[in-house]
Amino acid sequence: MIPPGARVRLAPKARLQNDRLSGKAFLLYPERGLELSESAARIVAACVVEKPVAAIVDELTAASGEPRERIESEVLSFLDALDDRGLLVVT
């Protein structure tokens, strides 16, 4: 589990890319890829540069207007999924 106080950034092997056919965001990594939902793409985009998880949550809360607790739980569960795949650097 990533603690809320951690700093994260996308691992060097992961590349966020807009798909030229669908316009959707994909996260590409060695020989694989994930098609991202809009909210997932926003989280990934927020991780391109290293920052505290709390800053990502603040950013996405401000953009969505939804309750912070809900955004925080979404962000943490998605970051865990990325971390399980080795797609995050967590410090």
């Binding site: 030229r20 060695p30 020989e31």
Partner: protein, 394 residues
């Protein structure tokens, strides 16, 4: 997907996504043309190694007229336009192409995520730096064995020291590194050493890919197929290592389909997610399909890649499920395993349209059962192996 090896397709693809991430569309309309996600560019069949499980065709020498740099540029552009997001530059050994840096740059220019699938021979730090500068995204390095005699038995030579230098160079350059080991009877006892090697060289991913018995590997099946207990032991070791190293090294152990009840989802379906282009420009759904008698695969020298992908009769032959025989036709798993491997059905039964005999529901499953039974017999000494040589292709 066909034989084992660096290109073991069962390991790849666009996997099921976590929550909040939407995956590929799982069931396209029956007649829709699927979107390829990965181009497998077999740049050459030349290779300094001679692995007895190679996924290249047996008639290597017939494919010696390689596409030039410009022809590959067109292939990359056409594949990207079709929807490909990944390019696997493979072979043979892609490093023997003097224009490899240009090819990496050309694939990168099409926004493809460029993976180099290599034995690491011949490479040095300067060459890797050049490739990284051209846009290479990741390196998959194959190691045949950590035991010198074992390596010489399966590949005709031992290059472990050189490979370790290549791994070091890749890590120093910041290139993500996958260690690929094809598992067979001769090295399956050394899975713990392969895990330790992956940790030592800083690999981010370890593929323990059991040999798939097609092509060269089928010719050497008696020597390569492990006994069931060895497979189970290796699988348990790999699973424990995967748990221990989660988030640090992704460890994949692909069970050989000879020991599974259901066939593997070969290439995620025929001409569905992968396009393979051979060194001489032939467009295939997998590495081995060129050996299927009765199908004529087209060449990018004669027709654009998109036209071939969309309506070549050979690529349409086993797309979707209309071609399926019983018991696949009514099987609940037909959209999961796609009826298994067409090349295996052809190799073992002479009929590419039959149910894969690896499936326990196949009426011809006894062929696989019998091979398994023979694998239980202990061998007095390592049996002779037919090494992959260009000359052997007559």
């Amino acid at each position: 997907m066909t034989a084992s090896g660096d290109q073991s397709g069962t390991l790849k693809g666009f996997p099921n996504p976590p929550a909040m991430v939407r995956g590929e569309q799982s069931s396209p309309a029956p007649h829709a043309i699927p979107r390829p996600y990965t181009l497998v560019a077999e740049l050459t069949y030349r290779c300094p190694l001679a692995c007895g499980y190679c996924s290249n065709p047996l008639d290597l020498a017939r494919h010696a007229d390689e596409l030039d740099t410009d022809a590959w540029r067109r292939v990359f552009a056409d594949a990207a336009a079709l929807g490909a997001l990944q390019a696997n530059l493979t072979g043979g050994e892609p490093l023997v192409r003097p224009d490899l840096t240009d090819l990496v740059a050309a694939a990168h220019a099409q926004q493809l995520y460029v993976n180099l699938i290599t034995s690491g021979i011949p490479a040095d730090r300067a060459r890797l730096a050049e490739l990284a500068g051209a846009g290479l995204n990741s390196v998959q390095l194959s190691v045949q064995d950590v035991d010198a005699h074992g390596a010489a038995w399966i590949a005709g030579r031992d290059d472990l020291d050189s490979k370790l230098q290549v791994a070091d160079a890749a890590r120093a350059l910041g290139l993500p590194l996958t260690l690929n080991v094809v598992i067979h009877r001769g090295n399956i006892a050394r899975v713990p050493e392969f895990v330790a090697l992956a940790e030592r060289i800083g690999a981010e991913r370890l593929e323990l890919a059991n040999t798939q018995y097609l092509g060269w590997a089928l010719a050497n099946r008696e020597a390569l197929l492990p006994a069931r207990a060895d497979i189970e032991r290796a699988r348990a070791i790999a699973a424990a290592a995967a748990d221990r190293l989660r988030g640090k090294i992704e460890i994949l152990f692909v069970r050989p389909d000879y020991y599974a009840d259901r066939p593997r989802a070969c290439m995620d379906g025929w001409a569905r997610r992968y396009i393979v282009v051979t060194p001489d420009g032939v467009v295939l759904p997998c590495h081995q399909a060129g050996g299927i008698v009765g199908l004529t695969f087209e060449n990018v020298r004669a027709r654009p890649l998109a036209a071939i992908w969309n309506d070549s009769p050979a690529l349409r032959a086993y797309r979707g499920d209309a071609w399926m025989p019983a018991p696949c036709r009514t099987c609940d798993e037909r959209h999961t395993d796609f009826g298994g491997c067409r090349c295996q059905a052809f190799a073992l039964l002479g009929d590419a349209g039959a149910t894969d005999p690896a499936c326990a529901l196949s009426p011809r499953h006894e062929l696989v059962r019998e091979a398994r039974a023979r694998a239980e017999q202990p061998a007095a000494a390592p049996p002779p192996i037919r090494l992959r040589r260009m000359r052997s292709s007559a």
